[in-house]
C-alpha cells in the first residue's frame, strides 16, 4: 500500500451499525489493528430497545484509498449491518463529552470558572480546591478548553471520543 496514488490524508468519521453480540467490538478493533489502520477515537453503545443493535462511531484517518478499504473491510464483517462515512455523506454533527478536573485556588480558581462559563461548561463537582467541569462540543472546542486550563491547574481529562449523526430526516437503520 506504500504506492497508493493520491497521498492526501483526510479524517473520516464512520458510523457502523452492528449486531450487539459478544466479540463484535473485538472484531472491529482487531480489524483496525491487524491491518494497521488508525483509530483516533472509538465509541460504542446499543441503539435499540431490544439491545440487538449497537452503533460504533470511529474516527480514523488515511489516504482516500485507505479510507475506502477501511469501509469495505468493515462492511464485509458478518455482524456488520451498515457502514456510513458521515464525513462524506453530507452535513453532519459531531459531538464529544469531556469531564475535566481543574485543581487550584485564588485567581486560578476564579479564572477557571470564568473560562468555563465562556465555553458553556457545567460545574458538576466543586470543592474548595477543585472543580470538575462537564463539557460537550466538537473535539476542537474541547481541545481549546483543555489548553486554556493547562496553565491554571488542569489535573485530569476524561473524554468519550466522538459520536456523530447526519443532519436531516434520513435515519441510519439496519
Amino acid at each position: 500500500m506504500s504506492e497508493s496514488q493520491g497521498n492526501a490524508h483526510r479524517i473520516a468519521t464512520i458510523a457502523v451499525l452492528v449486531e450487539n453480540e459478544a466479540g463484535v467490538l473485538a472484531r472491529v478493533i482487531g480489524l483496525f489493528a491487524g491491518r494497521g489502520y488508525n483509530i483516533d477515537s472509538l465509541t460504542v453503545a446499543p441503539v435499540d430497545d431490544a439491545g440487538r443493535l449497537s452503533r460504533i462511531t470511529v474516527v480514523t484517518s488515511g489516504t482516500e484509498m485507505i479510507i475506502e478499504q477501511i469501509k469495505a473491510q468493515l462492511d464485509r464483517l458478518v455482524p456488520v449491518h451498515k457502514v456510513s462515512d458521515l464525513s462524506q455523506e453530507g452535513p453532519h454533527l459531531v459531538r464529544e463529552l469531556a469531564l475535566i478536573k481543574v485543581v487550584g485556588s485564588g485567581d486560578h480558581r476564579v479564572e477557571a470558572l470564568r473560562l468555563a462559563d465562556a465555553f458553556r461548561a457545567r460545574v458538576v463537582d466543586a470543592t474548595t480546591e477543585s472543580f470538575v467541569f462537564e463539557m460537550t462540543g466538537n473535539a476542537d472546542k474541547i481541545d481549546a478548553f483543555c489548553a486554556l486550563m493547562r496553565p491554571i491547574g488542569l489535573a485530569e481529562v476524561c473524554r468519550t471520543g466522538a459520536v456523530a449523526i447526519a443532519r436531516g430526516a434520513a435515519g441510519f437503520a439496519a
Binding site: 459478544a22 466479540g23 473485538a26 482487531g30 491487524g34 478499504q69 469495505a72 458478518v78 449491518h81
Partner: protein
C-alpha cells in the same frame, strides 16, 4: 402450554448437543469429517461412534485435518469439515485456518472447548480459541447457550460457503455438547441473514461499461484467478466461452490454474513472479485488462507503480473490499464470477460494436514473438535429473494414461515447477497453498482429495524439506488405504530459499540445506507404503509408471539437480518487463534495490 398450541408448533426435537451437531452436519450434506479426538470433544466422538451417516477420518495432526478439509473442498466445491479438541487441538488448526482464509476455501472447523463455567479460568486444555482465531477465520462463534447451537451450526455453513468462501470456526463447550439442546432445521433461503448479505448479481451498467472497454481495446487480456474456481465448474465453462467468443489471450493466477484449459492455444500460461515471459509481457503491455476472480496479489503485480502502466482495468470480484485495495481500477464489477461471465457474454453479443480484428491479430503476432522465447525450455542432458524434466515427464505420462488426475503441492521451487510444467485443462484438479504458502500442505490435502475421489490418481508434488512437515499423515494413508503418490523432487535444499540466498544474499546458504534427511524409501515402508527412488534420467519414466500403477501409498524419491533455479523470475520490487529468464541474466538481479530486498 395448551393442547392447541402444542399442535400448532412444529416439533422441536431435543437431543444432546453432540447429536444436534451431527444432525446439523448431516442435514447440510456432510459425508466426511477430518478430525482428532480429545477430552473436550468426547461427546461428539461418542455420537459419531453410534451412527454411520458421516464418516470420520482420523488424521495424525490437527493441522493436517484442516489441510485435508481444504483439499476435499477445493477438489469438490463442497465445504470441508474439521473436528478437533480444545486447547492444543484448536491451536494446531490455526495454520490451516489462515491458509483457508488466504485462499478463500470453505472449511468448517468445530473445536471443543472447556465447559462454559470454566471459560476464562485457565482450565486444562483451555485456550481462547475464538480470540486466537478471530483474525484467522472469515467468522467464528462460541456457543454459550444450548438454544443457539442448531442455529449457529446452520449459520456457520451459510457464512462458510456464501459470498467469498472462507473458514468458519465454531467453538463448542463440553457442557453444551452433553446437555440437551433443541434441534431446528436450516432457515429457508427466503429468510436471509440479518446482517450478512453478499452480493452475487452484477450491476448490468458496469457490465456494459466493461464490454464497451473490451470491444474498443487493441491489446486486451483476460486475467482469471481462484474466484472462477470457487464459483463452480460452470464459471470455468463460461470463462472458456467468453475467451473463445472474443479471441482474447487468457492467463491464470496460481490459484486459478485449470479455470481455462492449459492446452488451449489462447492460454498464455501462468503470470506473476514465476509466470511465463509472454503472460507477464502481455499484462505489462495491454491496454485493457479484465480481472475476473483474482485479487492483484503482490506475486502477480510486481512493482505496483510499474504494473500495467498503460492499461485500463476491469475488476470483477465477489468481495468489494478486494476492489481498489492494491490497484486502482477503472470499472469495478461486484458479483459471482459465473454470474459476471454470463452477463458479459450476453452484453458482448448485444453490443453492436465490432471489435478491431486487425489490432487483435497484430497483438497475437506480438504474443507469438514473445512465446518464441520458449521461456520454460530446459536441457535435460547428462546423468542428473532436472526437476523441470521430472515434472514434465510426470505430466506427460499421466496424460498418456488418461486417468482422472489431481495434483497437490507443498511450497517452494517444486510448487512453481508444478505450476509451470503440469497443464490443467479442468478446474478443481489443482490444490496448492497460494496465499499463505504453507509447507506441509500437500500431503494432507492429497489425503482429502483422495477421500473425495477414491478412484482418481492423486499426486502430491513435494520437496524433501516440505514433505517432512506433515509426514506423519503417511499413517493416515495406510489406515484408510489411500493410494496417494508422494512425488518428491529431492534436491537436498529448501530450493526457493536457496535461490533467493544465491541471487540476493551473496550465496550465503544460511540454514537452507537439508541435513540428516531420512531414507525416504525406508520411511515409506515404515509407514506400510511403498518406496522407490530415481537417481538418473533413465530411471525416471519407469519409476513414474510404477508409482502410478501400484494401488498403495507410494513415496517416490526423485533425486534432482541441486542448483537449479526457477525461471522466469520477477525479482521482488521489479516490474513485469524486468523479468529474469535464466542464469545468463544475473545482471538483472544486481538491480534489486534495498526497497526490493525488504519485500518477501
Amino acid at each position: 402450554m395448551s393442547a392447541s398450541t402444542q399442535l400448532a408448533d412444529p416439533p422441536t426435537l431435543t437431543m444432546s448437543g453432540a447429536e444436534v451437531v451431527l444432525r446439523a452436519l448431516k442435514d447440510q450434506g456432510v459425508e466426511v469429517i477430518f478430525g482428532y479426538p480429545g477430552g473436550a470433544v468426547l461427546p461428539i466422538y461418542d455420537a459419531i461412534f453410534q451412527q454411520n451417516a458421516i464418516r470420520h477420518i482420523l488424521v495424525r495432526h490437527e493441522q493436517a485435518a484442516v489441510h485435508a478439509a481444504e483439499g476435499y473442498a477445493r477438489s469438490t466445491g463442497k465445504v470441508g469439515v474439521v473436528l478437533v479438541t480444545s486447547g492444543p487441538g484448536a491451536t494446531n488448526a490455526v495454520t490451516g485456518l489462515v491458509d483457508a482464509l488466504m485462499d478463500s476455501i470453505p472449511v468448517l472447523c468445530l473445536t471443543g472447548q472447556v465447559p462454559t463455567h470454566l471459560i476464562g479460568n485457565d482450565a486444562f486444555q483451555e485456550a481462547d480459541t475464538t480470540g486466537i482465531t478471530r483474525p484467522a477465520t472469515k467468522h467464528n462463534y462460541l456457543v454459550k447457550r444450548s438454544a443457539d447451537l442448531a442455529r449457529v451450526m446452520h449459520e456457520a455453513f451459510h457464512v462458510c460457503r456464501s459470498g467469498r468462501p472462507g473458514p468458519v470456526l465454531v467453538d463448542l463447550p463440553k457442557d453444551i455438547l452433553i446437555n440437551k439442546a433443541p434441534y431446528q432445521e436450516a432457515p429457508p433461503a427466503s429468510e436471509p441473514h440479518r446482517s450478512y448479505r453478499p452480493r452475487t448479481e452484477p450491476d448490468m451498467g458496469q457490465i456494459r461499461k466493461a464490454v464497451a472497454l473490451l470491444k474498443a481495446s487493441k491489446k486486451p487480456v483476460v486475467y482469471a484467478g481462484g474466484g472462477v474456481i470457487n464459483a463452480g465448474p460452470e464459471a470455468s465453462r463460461l470463462l472458456g466461452d467468453f475467451v473463445h467468443m472474443t479471441g482474447f489471450p487468457c492467463t491464470n493466477t496460481l490459484m486459478g490454474l485449470g479455470a481455462f484449459p492449459a492446452s488451449d492455444p489462447q492460454f498464455l500460461g501462468m503470470l506473476g513472479m514465476h509466470g511465463t515471459y509472454e503472460a507477464n509481457l502481455v499484462m505489462h503491455g495491454c491496454d485493457v485488462m479484465f480481472n475476473i476472480g483474482a485479487r492483484f496479489d503482490d506475486r502477480v503485480t510486481g512493482k505496483l507503480s510499474h504494473f500495467a502502466p498503460t492499461s485500463k482495468k476491469i475488476h470483477a470480484d465477489i468481495d468489494p473490499s478486494s476492489i481498489n485495495k492494491n490497484v486502482k481500477v477503472d470499472v469495478p464489477v461486484i458479483g459471482d464470477a459465473g454470474r459476471v461471465l454470463a452477463a458479459m457474454i450476453e452484453a458482448w453479443r448485444e453490443d453492436p460494436t465490432v471489435p478491431d480484428r486487425e489490432a487483435l491479430a497484430g497483438w497475437w503476432r506480438q504474443i507469438d514473438e514473445w512465446r518464441a522465447k520458449d521461456c520454460l525450455a530446459y536441457t535435460q542432458r547428462g546423468p542428473i535429473i532436472k526437476p523441470q524434466h521430472a515434472v514434465k515427464r510426470l505430466f506427460e505420462i499421466t496424460q498418456e494414461l488418461g486417468r482422472e488426475t489431481f495434483i497437490t503441492t507443498e511450497v517452494g521451487q517444486h510448487q512453481m515447477w508444478a505450476a509451470q510444467y503440469f497443464g490443467f485443462d479442468k478446474p478443481n484438479r489443482w490444490m496448492t497453498s497460494g496465499g499463505l504458502g504453507t509447507m506441509g500442505y500437500g500431503l494432507p490435502a492429497a489425503m482429502g482429495v483422495q477421500i473425495a475421489h477414491p478412484d482418481a490418481l492423486v499426486i502430491d508434488i513435494a520437496g524433501e524439506a516440505s514433505i517432512l512437515m506433515n509426514i506423519q499423515e503417511m499413517a493416515t494413508l495406510a489406515q484408510y488405504r489411500l493410494p496417494v503418490k508422494v512425488f518428491i523432487l529431492n534436491n537436498e535444499y529448501m530450493g526457493m530459499v536457496r535461490q533467493w540466498q544465491e541471487l540476493l544474499h551473496g550465496g550465503r546458504y544460511s540454514e537452507s540445506y537439508s541435513e540428516a534427511l531420512p531414507d525416504f524409501v525406508k520411511l515409506a515402508e515404515a509407514f506400510h507404503g511403498v518406496g522407490m527412488r530415481a537417481t538418473s534420467p533413465d530411471d525416471l519414466d519407469r519409476v513414474i509408471r510404477e508409482m502410478i500403477a501400484i494401488d498403495r501409498p507410494v513415496i517416490a524419491d526423485i533425486c534432482v539437480a541441486k542448483d537449479e533455479n526457477c525461471f522466469p523470475m520477477i525479482p521482488s520490487g521489479a516490474a513485469h518487463n524486468e523479468m529474469i529468464l535464466g542464469p545468463g541474466q544475473q545482471g538483472g538481479v544486481a538491480g534489486v534495490t534495498d526497497e526490493g530486498k525488504v519485500l518477501v
